[in-house]
Amino acid sequence: MTDSIKKATRHTNQNEGLIFEKSSPGKRAFELPPLDVPAADPARSLGGLHRGQGVEDFPEVSEIEVIRHFTRLSTWNYAIDLGMYPLGSCTMKYNPRVNEFVARLDGIATEHPYQPAELSQGCLRILQLLENCLLEITGMDAITLQPAAGAQGELTGLLLIRAYLEKQGNARKKVLIPDSAHGTNPATAVVAGYQVENIKSESHGQIDVDKLRDLVTEDVAALMITNPSTLGIFEQRIPEIADILHGRGALLYMDGANMNALTGVTRPGELGVDVMHLNLHKTFSTPHGGGGPGAGPVAMKKILEPFRPVPILVEKAGGQLALETVRSASIGKVRAFGGNFGVLVRALAYVLAYGPGVRQATEDAVLNANYIRKHLEGVFDLPYSLPSMHEVVFSDAIQKRNGVNTMDIAKRLIDYGFHPYTTAFPLIVPGALMIEPTESESKEECDLFIGAMKSIAEEAARTPELVKSAPHTTRVRRLDETTAARKPILRWKPPAAIKSSAPD
C-alpha cells in the first residue's frame, strides 16, 4: 500500500483534550495593565444585575497551555498550505500572506465605521478602488460590497430584483433554479419571499432553453444561473437565455461562484447577466479559515442601481469620499455597518498583486483542470463530455460495479495525503466526483493527484474493501454521525452536571 502513496506518510501528532478539561482555579493566561482610575464596585452600580463570581465554568489555564492547546489542534487539520484541495466550486487557491499583513495594519484594522468621513478617507479609497476593479472584472455598472458571504449576496441580488419589479408594478412570484444549482440558491429564493421552480438540465447538463421558453411567464421574476455550470461547463446559450427572460420582463441572476473560469477572459455583464454575486473567499483568494469569513459583493446593471443597500460610497466635489446613508429606493441593509471590510482589504491586495495579468490565473486554472481530466478520462466515468473549464465532474459508475462509491473513493484519497474532492454534488450526477484544482497547483501536485486517483481506481477494482473502509491513516476513523444526530452533544458540561442529568 505505502509504495503507491507518494504524497503523505504517517507522523506522530499530539493528543489534546478540551480546554475545559485542562482548567484549574487560579491559573491565568492573561494579565491586564493595572487600573489607573479609582476602582468601582460593580455590585453597587449593577445591583441585582451583578454577576458576582465571573462566568461559571469558564476555563482557567496558563499562556503556554493555550499555545499548546491550539497548536496541537491545528496539526490535526488539512489546509491549503499543506496541499491541494480538489473541491469543485470552492476554488481553494493560495491565500497570500501579504493580505494578512495589510489587513492587520494600524490604521486599517483599528478603524471604526462611525468615525467621521474626514478621518476615514483611507478606508473609503480602498472601498472605491475595489468597487472599480470588480466592476471592470464583471463588466457591470454598479456594485455593493455589503453582503457578508455568497449566500447573502444571492439574497441581496434577489431583493434588488424584487425591488425593481415592484417598482414596475409586480414583484412576481417565482424564481427558476436549475437542478444543478448549489443549495444556497433555493434556500435564498425562499428567504427572499419567492417560490422555487426547478428547471431540469438537458442531456449535456446545460440549461434546457426550450423548456425555459415555456417556463418563463409573467409570474417568473428571475432565473438563477451558475456559469460555468456546476459541471464546469460554459453555458453557451447564455445570451439567448438572457433574451428570453428579458423578453418577458424577467431578469438573469448569475451565481458567480465559478468566476475563476472567467476572470480576464470574458465578462458576465456582456453576456446578458443583470445581477451577480462574487465570492471573494473563492475567486479572490481570501482565506476560508475553517468556514469563513467571506464576502459576497453584488454587481449589477444600471437598472438595479437605485435599490442598492445603504450606505453608498460617493465622491464629493474636491475628491473627498463619503458614505451616504439615505437613499429612498434602497432595499435597506442586509447587515450592520458596511461589509466585511477586512475581507475586502485582502481581496483588493490580491487584485493589486496580479493587476491586468489576472487572466493568467484563469488560464492556469483551466489548464490544470483539463490536464487532470485528460489523465482520468477512462479511469472514471465522465457523464457529460462537453469541454470543461476550471472544474471537471466524473461519476463513480465504474467503481460502483464493485460496490465502491464516490464517498469511499474520497475517504481513500485522504490516505494519499489529499483533501477529498466534492462528493455527491451536483445532484444531477449520481455519485459525482467534482474536481477543481485551481491555478495554485503545480504540475507536480497535479501529477501526484492523478497518480493517487489512478491508484485508488485500481484498488477499487482489486481490493475494494480497502477503499470502502478508508481512511486508515487519520487520527480518527470514520465518525458515528448517526449517534451525533440522534443524541446531539453540542457543548462540554462539567462532570458533576453530566452525572446528575437523567440517564437515557
Binding site: F20, K27, R28, F30, D36, L46, L49, F70, T71, Y78, I80, D81, V98, V102, L105, G107, A109, T110, E111, Q115, L119, S120, R125, C133, E136, E154, L155, P186, A187, V190, P239, V265, P287, G289, G290, G291, G292, P293, V334, R335, G339, F341, V343, A353, G355, P356, G357, R359, Q360, L367, N370, Y371, K411, K443, E445, E481, A485, I489, L490, W492
Partner: protein, 448 residues
C-alpha cells in the same frame, strides 16, 4: 507571477498532454465575440513591498493618533498577540469548512469549545458555530421565533441598535413578518407598559438589547413575563459581550443573539465579526447555522462532527432554517482563543475595569456645566449625555484636539437631538479621559 507555480516549459508540457496547441484552445467553449481581446484595465501588478506600501499609505489617511470614545456596537478591547499567532497558523487560516471530519478535527474541536463558551457566557443551553454578525444573528433569532410559534408579528424595542433594526426590517419585508417598535421610558429602558399593551396572540417575539443602544442595562423579568404570558418568545441581543463578565446573562431569554466582536476581533471598519445564536436544547432543530457535535469513531475514540445538518441549505435547500453557508469560523476561532486566554478571572477583571473607567468618565463629564446624564438606568461601559449644544459641532471642535467624540444620536433618534453616546473601555487611559473632559469643558465655555 509569484502565486502561480508553473514554468513556461511546464505549461507547454501540460498543453501537449491535453492535445491542445495553445491555451486559447481551452477557451473555445466561449463564443468568440465574448472573449476579451485586451487585458482588463486594472492597477498593478504590484510586488509584495508595493502592496504593503499602498495599504500603509491608506492607513495614514485614517484616524491614526486620535483618541476615540465611540462604541455603538463595535468596541475597542485589549487583544493578545497570541490570538494572531494561532489564527495565522496555516492549518487554521487556510483550512476549509470541516465537512470531512477525519482531517479537520482541529477546527471541529475549536468550534465545540466556542459553542460551549457562548453557552457559558449567555446562560443558554446550546449555541451555534457563528452567523455573520450580531445584526444578522438577531434577525435569524427572530425568524427562528417565527418558525417556532407560527406567528407573524414582532415587537422590537427602539433601544435596540438602529442598524440591527434596519437589517431585521429588510429581511422581514420578504417573509411577511410585521415589525412594530416599542419605545423607551425615562431611565432608558424599554417601556414595559407599552409592550404589554402591544402584545397579542399573534406576536412571535419580543426583541430587547442589553446593554441597549443608549448603554443602559435592561432588566428582563417584566418583559419576559409579559411576553411568555401571551405565548411570545423573548429574544435578547447582546452587542457588547464583555458586559457578560460582570452582568448576569439574560436567563429569561428564549433566544440570545450575540455579537462576538468584543472578544478579540479588531474594529476593522465594520467587519468581519461573528454573530452567535444561543437558545434552549428543545429549540435546536430550528436553529440556523452550523453545529459541531461530539461523537466517537469506529474505535471508540472521541471526535467531533458537524451535525444536525439536515437543517441546512446543502441538504434542505428551499426548506432550510437559513440560507447561510459560509459563516465566520475564523472570527469565532479568534474569540475562542481570546476568551481562553482571558479566562474566568481575566474576563471578570476586564469587565470590572470597563465599569470603573466609565464611571470615572461619567463623573468628570457631568461636572461640566450644561452636561447632564440622560438616562438613569444602570450601565456597563457606555452612557448617554445631553449637551447644551449640537453634538456635531462639539465633535468638530474635538477633532482639532485629535479626539473622536461621542456618537451624535440625533440622526437616529430625532427626539435626542442634543444627545451623544460615550463609550469608555479598559483601553481608554485616565489621561485620555481627563483630556477629553477638559476639551469638552473648554469648547462649551467658549460662547462661539
Amino acid at each position: 507571477m509569484r502565486y502561480l507555480p508553473k514554468s513556461p516549459a511546464e505549461r507547454q508540457e501540460m498543453l501537449a498532454a491535453i492535445g491542445a496547441k495553445s491555451i486559447e484552445d481551452l477557451f473555445e467553449c466561449i463564443p468568440e465575440r465574448f472573449r476579451l481581446r485586451e487585458a482588463l484595465k486594472l492597477p498593478g501588478p504590484l510586488s509584495e513591498a508595493e502592496v504593503i506600501s499602498y495599504f500603509k499609505d491608506r492607513a495614514r489617511e485614517n484616524s491614526l493618533g486620535y483618541s476615540s470614545f465611540l462604541g455603538a456596537g463595535i468596541y475597542n478591547h485589549l487583544r493578545s498577540v497570541i490570538t494572531d499567532t494561532i489564527l495565522l497558523r496555516g492549518e487554521f487560516l487556510t483550512s476549509y469548512t470541516p465537512y470531512q471530519a477525519e482531517i479537520t478535527q482541529g477546527t471541529l474541536q475549536a468550534i465545540f469549545e466556542f459553542q460551549t463558551l457562548m453557552c457559558q457566557l449567555t446562560g443558554q443551553e446550546v449555541a451555534n458555530a457563528s452567523m455573520y454578525d450580531g445584526s444578522t444573528a438577531t434577525t435569524e433569532a427572530v425568524l427562528m421565533a417565527e418558525r417556532l410559534t407560527g406567528r407573524g408579528r414582532v415587537l422590537v424595542a427602539r433601544s435596540v441598535h438602529p442598524e440591527y433594526r434596519e437589517v431585521l426590517r429588510t429581511y422581514a419585508r420578504n417573509s411577511g413578518l410585521r415589525v412594530e417598535e416599542i419605545g423607551y421610558v425615562k431611565d432608558g429602558r424599554v417601556d414595559v407598559a407599552a409592550l404589554q399593551a402591544a402584545l397579542g396572540d399573534d406576536v412571535a417575539a419580543v426583541v430587547l438589547q442589553s446593554p441597549n443602544f443608549f448603554g443602559v442595562l435592561e432588566g428582563y423579568a417584566e418583559a419576559a413575563e409579559a411576553a411568555h404570558a401571551s405565548g411570545a418568545l423573548l429574544v435578547v441581543a447582546v452587542a457588547e459581550g464583555v458586559s457578560l463578565g460582570v452582568v448576569k446573562p439574560p436567563a429569561e431569554a428564549d433566544i440570545v443573539a450575540m455579537e462576538a466582536q468584543s472578544f478579540g476581533l479588531p474594529p476593522s471598519y465594520g467587519g468581519p465579526f461573528a454573530g452567535v445564536v444561543a437558545s434552549r436544547d428543545r429549540f435546536v432543530r430550528q436553529m440556523p447555522g452550523r453545529l459541531a457535535g461530539q461523537t466517537v469513531d469506529a474505535r471508540g475514540q472521541r471526535g467531533f462532527v458537524l451535525t444536525l445538518a439536515t437543517r441546512e441549505q446543502h441538504i434542505r435547500r428551499e426548506k432550510a432554517t437559513s440560507n447561510i453557508c459560509t459563516n465566520q469560523a475564523l472570527c469565532a476561532l479568534a474569540a475562542t482563543v481570546h476568551l481562553t486566554l482571558l479566562g474566568k478571572a481575566g474576563l471578570r477583571e476586564m469587565a470590572e475595569q470597563n465599569v470603573a473607567k466609565s464611571q470615572f468618565a461619567l463623573g468628570l463629564l457631568t461636572e461640566i456645566p450644561g452636561v447632564r446624564r440622560a438616562f438613569g438606568g444602570p450601565f456597563f461601559n457606555e452612557f448617554t449625555l445631553e449637551f447644551p449644544r449640537s453634538v456635531r459641532m462639539i465633535n468638530a471642535d474635538l477633532l482639532k484636539d485629535k479626539i473622536v467624540g461621542p456618537l451624535a444620536l440625533g440622526p437616529m433618534y430625532p427626539e435626542l437631538s442634543k444627545h451623544g453616546l460615550v463609550c469608555v473601555t479598559e483601553t481608554t487611559s485616565r489621561q485620555e479621559i481627563e483630556r477629553f473632559a477638559e476639551a469638552v469643558e473648554r469648547i462649551l465655555a467658549d460662547p462661539a
